[in-house]
Amino acid sequence: MPINIPDWLMHFLQSTSVIVLESAPWIVLSLLVGGLVHEFLPDSRLRKLLNRPGPTAMGGAVLLGGLLPICSCGVIPLAVSLYRSGVRLGPVMAFTAATPIINPAAVILSFALLGPQITFAYIILGITLPVLMGYLTQRWGEPYDASNSGSDSADAECNTSADCCGEKLIAASNTMSRIKHGLAWGFFTLGPNIGFYLAIGIALAGLLNTFVPTDWMQTYLGNSSIVSLLVAALLGASIYVCAVAHIPLVAALLAAGAAPGAAIVFLVTGTATNLPELFTLYRTIGKRTVIIYTSVLILSSLLAGLLVNMWLMPGFEPDFDPLASLSLMDQSDNLWWTPSVIVKWGSSVVVFFLAGWGIIGYLKKLLIPRNINSDSSCCGGK
């Protein structure tokens, strides 16, 4: 007997699987880099730079983020890894916001398709917003946790006593064993830890995609009113948007008469964050930080959108040299990694595996109360 699956459920499954397939390669790559960062950062100069007071740390975090071509879902493991490697909250949040926005491939593609004015506004906002966010989260975000510094953090977050003992057993002596140790931390400690929250965030984003009207982009990006800008900002901050994939869409909308301010609002809020990222940051870093992060992002992009509308409207039409644009699009393609189907599916399996592991760990914690004293005695004994 054929099973009738309701339309909304089919749409939900389709949206969720697309988000998983698109974001999984970046998550896996970020776990890999995050593991190495956790292993090598504590005794590196970079950590000292990122922990300096004043603008150097924020500038360093923004520059570091700008150099990495990673999307918003992929930046989460790396950001959590930086935080757990002892980097202060401000630079971590500046890095988290800057990485997907000032992505070199996105900036070049924006110049090619959206024209110099919008790209200029995009870059200015992409630099000032993370710095502002860094300062505000540093000032009013979750207080600095001393146990967060260096390799001690691994002990603070491991789920089982076996994890703690195991990590202490593997004494990192040479580079090869340090790489192994770092990768093990990335995939077997950080992975299950954030995999669970990522899974919930991705399911929420899939649900949102299912129930948001399909023509919302035309409706809200085509209008320059403040309500439209606000809706574009809220939806942009919730759904999964990858700058490189969405710039052609925004370019087509602008050509059809969309407001340039709405395009900026959508691109910045969309690329900077999404539900999986917000949910994971909420559970791993803290509620206050996420509230500051989201409100600063939405309010600043709204302000920027209004200013851009005042500057470029009415009668804005993106102007570019078509031949030069094609060359720039080639450059952007060269800077951007488009994962093959095998990589997408393989990484999705890894993400599912980590999410499953995280869910089992969470249920275990929920059902079997942990004896903290026995854990510490185990680690202490080793």
């Binding site: 699987s17 697309v18 052609p248 869409l249 370019a251 087509a252 699009m329």
Partner: protein, 163 residues
Amino acid sequence: MNDVNKIVYYFINGKIFHKKYLSKILFYVFMSFILVSVGNAQSITATKSDLNSKKKITSIASLISDADQLVKQAISSEANASRFRIDATFYRESLRSLMIEAEKNADKSEKSKKVFMELVRMSALLQSAAACKTGRYIVCPIELRQQLLSQQTRLHQLASQQS
């Protein structure tokens, strides 16, 4: 116990990073990445030879009708992913050679620039569609499908104005 059983046993007991099995897992992951990169390199070579074998497009009208075909395939969700990628790349290369040709003939009128700009946008949308591969077929999100269709309409309107 065989390797897989041991790995599962260690996984369940939270000892997955046991030195012996971790190195094995890392080895498998490393080998699979090598296989994937070899596969990618082969598909790039195949793309180049496929592009050379295709017939050259020599007019804007045929480029627009080519775009129609590609849009139709992209929204059908039944287009073969690798075939579509080759076609989208061919479309971009044809557009480039047409623009170079137009520049040589000193055709720098505002009207032809506008058509070329729309064609560049269409090419960018088609490249985005080519990246939407979730398996054997291209499955584009609904927003991209809508934009492909409206870009197609805009192209036709502009072409009819020009003629």
